[in-house]
């Protein structure tokens, strides 16, 4: 593995590489590659056909170019679409059979997988490049009828559920990167919560990109059946490399009648070095459908990593009285770029949505909130409240707000507020006078600025996220 040219960046503590022997798909994007992935995953024919359908669609679709962060052309033929540790070829039956190097990697990341050490109250699916390494707490969950497993396993064991819901929220033809994902997705998590079940613990997937020149195409599908509840967490890191790596995930959520899904992300992919070399292109499609009445989907994201982040976790509020929420913190420093936000599509009656977005831009970074609130003609008595606040540190960075607001009936109300300002000098002075230095003061004030979002995170994540907020901005105030 070539990693001589790494610019060691002390601030990014997850930047190490695991030396491990890999099996890779042939380089490049072709029918052959797709067949390779499908075969190695032992997929049924319907799945391969689905992938090929997406691939055919991809041939006639174009990369979108309306987003603010522009990026150099990606050479799709120069990427690996599948990379997995050799030891994972024959799926280990238990954790004892998993390569200790992999276990060690997750230990280093603070995600112990061992039975004795595993995190209490959180079931983890650990995805390493293109495969799921291990899933903890499986037995406990199975007792309640909850399915939590790698999606590749679900395709084999629960084909009816996968067939019914995969692509039902993000159609194959949605847009370039969603189509690409549909053709070549490798692994990710599958969750099914049966009716009237409250998932007893947090479910979580930890994504790790390790191999170089490899794209990660995760696919996650979460179905909350009638009257159920689940809270799902997602974390991500990658080694420091001077190449840009592509992460193009599709995440679909489906909430049926009276069900609730809470989806939290702490995204800390490698952001590139101080000069903007390297880093992950995080082009992600996340969408949830509130299909049933009284259902609820809530997205919370803390986006601090990636060279370019480009994602709009959205809610389609189909069921009457359904609720969509989006809480976001996006921090960009150095040369990072983020274009993120949400879409709230109100179709059912009495639907409600809430958007709280906090953007912080420092260094030479660019941070855009882009969002759509669309209240349809038939979505009577619906409501949206949006608040977008941006904080700028220094005058080499940019903060932008691009909301699209559509109200198509007179019984619905939309409120949108946005502010942009710099970090308040008086607040800094006050903190300094109480003995805090500049960086501590900034971290404290920014955490306060983000509080409305941070408090949405599950406890275990909130503490980590708060630290991350401080670390991400280190060196940003002169």
């Amino acid at each position: 593995m070539k990693n001589q040219n790494i610019n060691y960046n002390q601030d990014y503590k997850y930047g190490f590489t695991t030396e491990i022997e890999n099996i890779k798909a042939p380089k490049g994007l072709s029918e052959k590659t797709i067949k390779f992935i499908s075969k190695i995953k032992k997929e049924p024919k319907w799945m391969l056909d689905w992938r090929l359908k997406a691939f055919n669609r991809l041939k006639v679709s174009k990369e979108p170019d309306w987003q603010k962060p522009k990026f150099p052309k990606i050479d799709y033929q120069n990427l690996y679409y599948y990379s997995a540790p050799k030891s994972m070829k024959d799926k280990p039956k238990s954790l004892d059979e998993v390569d200790p190097k992999l276990i060690e990697t997750y230990n280093k990341l603070g995600i112990p997988l061992n039975e004795q050490k595993k995190l209490s109250g959180i079931a983890v699916d650990a995805v390493f490049d293109s495969v799921s390494v291990a899933t903890t707490f499986k037995d406990e969950l199975t007792k309640k009828g909850i399915i939590f497993c790698p999606i590749s396993e679900a395709i084999q064991k629960h084909p009816d559920l996968v067939k019914k819901y995969l692509g039902s929220v993000i159609p194959i033809s949605d847009h370039y990167f969603a189509t690409l994902n549909s053709a070549v997705f490798t692994d990710g998590s599958f969750v099914y919560i049966p009716p009237n079940t409250k998932c007893p613990m947090e479910l979580s997937t930890y994504f790790r990109i390790n191999a170089s020149e490899t794209g990660q195409f995760e696919r996650t599908l979460i179905i909350a059946d009638k009257g159920s509840y689940v809270s799902y967490l997602e974390g991500c890191t990658a080694p420091m490399r001077d190449e840009n790596q592509l992460h193009a995930a599709n995440v679909e959520l489906i909430a049926l009648d009276d069900a609730e899904i809470k989806y939290s992300t702490v995204q800390n992919w490698y952001p590139g070095d101080k000069n903007g070399v390297g880093g992950i292109y995080n082009f992600v499609t996340k969408r949830g459908a509130c299909r049933g009445k009284n259902s609820k989907i809530s997205w919370t994201q803390v986006e601090t990593g990636s060279a370019i982040t480009w994602k709009y976790p959205s809610c389609i509020l189909q069921g009457d009285n359904s609720v969509g929420e989006f809480y976001s913190i996006a921090i960009t420093n150095n040369h990072q770029k983020a274009d993120t936000g949400t879409k709230m599509i109100h179709l059912g009656k009495n639907t409600k949505s809430k958007i709280i977005s906090k953007g912080i831009s420092a260094g030479k970074a660019d941070n855009t909130y882009r969002g759509l609130v669309d209240i349809g003609r038939k979505a009577l008595n619906s409501r949206n409240y949006t608040q977008c606040d941006s904080l700028l540190m220094g005058n080499k960075c940019g903060a932008h707000t691009v909301p699209y607001i559509k109200n198509k009936n007179s019984s619905s109300t939309i409120e949108h507020e946005a502010t942009t300002s710099k970090i308040n000098e008086e607040q800094l002075f006050y903190c300094n006078q109480r003995g805090l230095n500049q960086e501590e003061a900034v971290s404290l004030i920014v955490n306060g600025f983000c509080k409305d979002v941070l408090q949405q995170l599950p406890m275990e994540f909130a503490v980590e996220a708060q630290k991350l907020v401080g670390i991400s901005l280190e060196g940003s105030v002169g």
Binding site: L392, N395, N407, E415, A418, S421, K422
Partner: protein
């Protein structure tokens, strides 16, 4: 679907132009023909699909130069004013009896700026290609007009499926002040299209105030692009009451080029039937210590559609910018629609920028309160709508002008209800 390609001999029919101008016009005509009327695929026209609107309402668009005979108009009696009369876009009369001679210049406008800046608005292309009339108004340095100038924009009753392309320019010299009331009188009962390109230049410490109102409901389809350039310490204030047309898009751009310049824009409108109205503003903060303020209020009835797209851009050197924008809409009918896109693009950190946008139904508690005091529902709504819009009219300083505007708005509201 109306296929609206324009033959290049349309330019020759307007007049004989020198090579430079001819090239400029031809190039712009090419651009227009390439794109046609913009549709919703174009970001700036996302909410106003003009191609569809034109196809739906025009069987043809007549490029013929419209004959305009001098016509009598009813002058405003409520306050003293200077005036110019612009008939179908052409300057036909002017009177500055309240002012010193030689301080104000007014003449037919001839464009002499043929720099080929790539315009991405097809209607500007169209105007550059075919504009054949307009006025140029200039106030010399150090002169404050004593009375307001009323521009009577008269559209004659022989307009039918015509398209007009006019180009106007207003220049206000150093330390000078000009107040304008743009008053549109529309006599045509037929559909016609009016495409205006306007250039406003404010020199150092110049003050410009503009109030614009449409006298009666008409079948006009109007598009106006206005470029406003503000030098140091200059200030520009707009009060816009844009309702009364079938389609109206005002695309207003303000470049705050000099330090301490400021612009203030307020709009109030009441739309009904299938009126379609869009206000688009772009405020460019190019210099430090500038202020901008926009407040847009819409009341939407029947199947009307209101749009506000407002962008605030702050360049990195434009520190201490103070920018505020607010749009509010009341929807009175489930078939009405309000869309907005309040946008911020900010590259300087020591700024105060914020925007707000809200839309919703009229407050039921307020209706209930008024009805409990003896008003019927209709009256209660009318009172609340007037109150909602009066926040804008109340900002007009001159009492006589304010009362005149309020009167006109009431007529509009009343007339709309009747229809």
């Amino acid at each position: 679907m109306l296929n609206f390609k324009i033959n290049s001999n349309a330019i020759e029919k307007i007049g004989n132009f020198n090579a430079k101008e001819k090239e400029f016009r031809l190039k712009n005509l090419d651009s227009f023909n390439k794109n046609g009327f913009p549709n919703k695929k174009s970001e700036d026209w996302k909410f106003s699909d003009l191609r569809e609107i034109v196809s739906k309402n025009f069987k043809k668009l007549d490029l013929k130069v419209v004959k305009t005979d001098a016509q009598k108009i009813k002058f405003i009696q409520e306050f003293d004013h200077n005036y110019i009369i612009v008939t179908n876009g052409e300057l036909t009369s002017s009177n500055f009896k309240f002012e010193e001679k030689n301080k104000i210049k007014v003449q037919n406008y001839l464009n002499n700026n043929f720099i080929n800046k790539q315009e991405n608005n097809p209607l500007i292309n169209l105007n550059h290609a075919l504009s054949d009339k307009g006025y140029f108004l200039e106030v010399e340095e150090n002169y404050k007009l004593k009375k307001i100038l009323v521009i009577y924009n008269l559209y004659t009753n022989n307009l039918n499926q015509n398209i007009l392309n006019c180009k106007n320019k207003i220049k206000i010299g150093k330390n000078s002040e000009l107040h304008i009331l743009e008053y549109t009188i529309n006599r045509s009962k037929k559909n016609f299209f009016n495409n205006i390109y306007e250039n406003v230049v404010l020199e150092q410490s110049a003050i410009y105030k503009n109030i614009c109102i449409y006298n009666e409901k008409s079948f006009g389809y109007f598009h106006k692009y206005s470029s406003n350039k503000l030098d140091t310490k200059s200030s520009s204030t707009f009060f816009i009451f844009p309702s009364g047309l079938k389609f109206n898009k005002l695309d207003l751009e303000f470049d705050l080029n000099g330090e301490n310049s400021e612009c203030n824009l307020q709009a109030a409108s009441y739309l009904n039937h299938d009126d379609h109205q869009e206000i688009k503003t772009r405020i460019n903060h190019f210099a430090p210590n500038c202020k901008s303020f926009q407040k847009v209020k819409n009341v939407l009835d029947s199947e009307s559609k209101g749009i506000y797209q407002g962008k605030i851009f702050v360049k990195d050197i434009a520190q201490k910018t103070d920018a505020y924008q607010l749009s509010k809409a009341i929807l009175l009918n489930d078939d009405s629609e309000f869309n907005s896109k309040p946008e911020l693009e900010i590259y300087a950190d020591d700024v105060k920028c914020s925007h707000g946008s809200s839309s919703g139904s009229i407050d039921e508690d307020s209706i209930f309160y008024l009805m409990s005091r003896g008003l019927n529902r209709q009256e209660a709504i009318k009172l609340l709508v007037e109150g909602f819009l009066s926040e804008i009219t109340n900002e007009i300083k001159s009492n006589s002008i304010k009362n005149f505007i309020i009167g006109k708005l009431e007529e509009q509201l009343h007339e709309h209800k009747k229809n």
